[in-house]
């Protein structure tokens, strides 16, 4: 047997390129964070404040509020939500072996939407002590319960004899989505005008309501879920060969599925709860990264977290300056910028290979 060896046959190492990308993206994230603190509707800029501090002057009350109570929590929430959505997208696509899967498939979006609508329309009917307990975070709280609850329900429905059927989960998710949509429709029907406006804006997503309270309530769960998802790299690589083969190369497939589903429900549920429906990040970020450095999940997941955070922060900067002093819902920005990019990628690669 002749062994062909030439320069061309030396294996190209996409893995080391993907590892180098960790550092590039981390640097870009730092720049994006600075931009996010610098730019805003008021004249307060980070550079001016740093110059003041360097000269030993104290910051004004307004500067301190803008920086520490408005922009900083908003930045923290943008990083958390962007990372959560992108990592969840990458994990779901790996689990469903389909590059078009997104966290919506496991019912998070539909369930969270129903929870939010219930809170907006019927929240005022709750007993006073409950209203006092959840305070102004009732919509977030209800959205999280709805998202998490529907994922757990789907997971239970599609698990028989200790094995989770991914196909059943997909189909049950469609049914659950339709049901949640119908219930939401009933609530929309009885909602008044102000509630309808709240509903619409919740669905478009925004980081505008960011506060330290929200960051602290959603942050730990998001970080824990992202941490769990980042450990799935080797398992998701094996799953690309199919469930049986993944088991043959030594992966505990059922354990991996459980971790993936719970992590996605946690990360996406918490993200959607504090920021509403922000589309497109979960699909486009992993896709761009696969084009740049290959589909190896050991690096794809972390790179997705970084790029997701970067893109969401930048989208938020655009959202708050483009029609300042008013603000655009961020879901509109991500869709307007993201959808054409996504279409362009699809058309450019059409006919080459499967996604």
């Amino acid at each position: 047997m002749a062994v062909v060896t030439d320069i061309e046959s030396a294996p190209r190492d996409r893995l080391s390129r993907a590892r180098a990308l960790h550092w590039v993206l981390a640097g870009a994230l730092a720049l994006a964070c600075i931009a996010s603190l610098e730019i805003g509707a008021t004249d307060v800029t980070l550079l001016a404040m740093l110059a003041k501090l360097a000269q030993g002057e104290a910051l004004s009350q307004m500067e301190r509020v803008v920086l520490f109570e408005i922009r900083l929590p908003r930045l923290a929430m943008g990083v958390l939500v962007g990372a959560a959505l992108a990592v969840s997208g990458a994990a779901m696509q790996g689990l469903f072996r389909n590059p078009l899967a997104d966290p919506g498939i496991v019912g998070v979006g539909a369930g969270a939407g129903l929870g939010a609508i219930l809170a907006i329309v019927l929240g005022a009917l709750l007993p006073v002590w409950m209203l006092n307990l959840v305070g102004n975070q009732m919509v977030s709280f209800a959205a999280f319960l709805g998202g998490w609850g529907s994922t757990i329900l789907l997971y239970r429905v599609s698990t028989r004899h200790g094995r989770t059927s991914v196909a059943t989960m997909l189909l049950a998710g469609i049914a659950l989505g339709a049901l949640a949509g119908a219930l939401s429709g009933i609530l929309v029907y009885i909602a008044d005008d102000r509630q309808l406006r709240d509903l619409t804006f919740w669905g478009l997503g925004s980081l505008a309501g960011a506060s330290w309270a929200k960051v602290l309530s959603a942050g730990p769960l998001i970080l824990l879920s992202i941490g769990a998802a980042l450990m799935l790299g080797r398992g998701l690589n094996g799953l690309a060969l199919g469930e049986a083969t993944a088991a043959h190369i030594g992966i505990d497939v059922q354990r991996m599925k459980s971790i993936a589903i719970l992590a996605v429900a946690g990360a996406t549920g918490a993200a959607v709860a504090v920021s509403g429906g922000i589309g497109f990040i979960g699909i486009v970020v992993p896709h761009l990264l696969r084009l740049a450095s290959g589909p190896d999940h050991r690096t794809l997941l972390l790179n997705s977290a970084l790029l997701g955070a970067i893109l969401l922060i930048l989208a938020d900067v655009i959202a708050r300056v483009v029609i300042a002093p008013a603000e655009l819902p961020i879901g509109i920005v991500t869709a307007v910028l993201g959808a054409p990019v996504f279409l362009w990628i699809l058309l450019k690669r059409r006919g080459l290979v499967e996604l």
Binding site: M1, A2, V3, V4, T5, D6, E8, S9, A10, P11, R12, R14, G94, R97, N98, P99, R234, N237, G238, L239, A240, L241, G242, A244, T245, A247, H248, I249, G250, I251, D252, V253, R290, G294, P295, D296, V353, E354, L355
Partner: protein, 260 residues
């Protein structure tokens, strides 16, 4: 240190696909499983690889496979499936490395290229797996499986190759190449079990042959003992003559000539 399957029963719903089949495979030998479509060949391999729920016992190198974790099994045996669809645009060398991550070759980075060279596809390392033909994809998967159990014997224990129709989508030259790889693995002390459709290749390469029919084992022994007119005619339900020339005027392709 062998692979022993005892009294294996497998049911698909009400239908019993395997009814009490036993099989012992020795390291150093190629053990072939043959039989007509639906006789339970792949089902038996599914039980041996722990991919199907079954009743009975399977032990690998003296340990019950039911008590082993997936990664413990992966260190002792590699499985080549009938067909593989890959979900994402991995290139060829990355697919072969997936085998390396789990197997006994550990972090020996040269093994995947050697495995690719073994199946004659070293120059394909950078190609996208999804652009390969069916036969090429099958050989890349074989390279992945070889990378997983690269040393046929490790720590005095045999490693096992479990192959489900390894030559089904290959041309005749590569059928012979793949069967030679399997035989070399066995000669070096490893164990091989292969589900086979081609009786001529089975006769040429197998040391032991199990003939299945209707979920039961009809016969088990050396090719000379097992591949007889009587046994094959009963298994396949049609008149078969071993070593008989075909009717006049029909082309006759004899793989035996290739090794002569």
């Amino acid at each position: 240190m062998s692979l022993i399957a005892e009294d294996i029963h497998v049911s698909y719903g009400r239908r019993e696909a395997l009814r009490g089949v036993s099989l012992t495979a020795q390291p150093g030998e190629v053990t072939a499983i043959v039989g007509p479509n639906g006789s339970g060949k792949s089902t038996l391999l599914g039980a041996i690889t722990a991919s199907l729920p079954f009743r009975g016992n399977v032990s690998l190198n003296g340990r019950d496979i039911g008590t082993l974790k997936p990664w413990e099994l992966a260190a002792e045996r590699a499985v080549l499936p009938q067909a593989s669809r890959l979900a994402f645009p991995f290139n060829v060398i990355e697919v072969v490395r997936l085998g390396l991550q789990s197997g006994t070759a550990g972090d020996r980075p040269e093994v995947p290229m050697q495995a690719l060279a073994r199946v004659g596809l070293a120059h394909y390392a950078n190609r996208a797996f999804q652009e390969l033909s069916g036969g090429e994809a099958q050989r890349v998967m074989l390279a992945r499986v070889l990378a997983q159990v690269w040393a046929p014997v490790e720590g005095g224990q045999p490693r096992w190759l479990l192959l489900d129709e390894p030559v089904s989508s290959l041309d005749i030259a590569h059928q012979l190449q793949v069967m030679e790889i399997a035989r070399d693995f066995a000669r070096a002390g490893g164990g091989v079990i292969a589900v086979m459709h081609d009786l001529n290749l089975t006769a040429l390469f197998a040391d032991r042959v199990a003939v299945l029919a209707e979920g039961q084992r009809l016969s088990f022994g050396t090719p000379i003992e097992v591949l007889t007119d009587d046994i094959l005619s009963r298994a396949y339900g049609c008149a078969l003559r071993v070593s008989a020339p075909p009717p006049v005027g029909v082309p006759y392709i004899l793989p035996h000539a290739a090794s002569a």
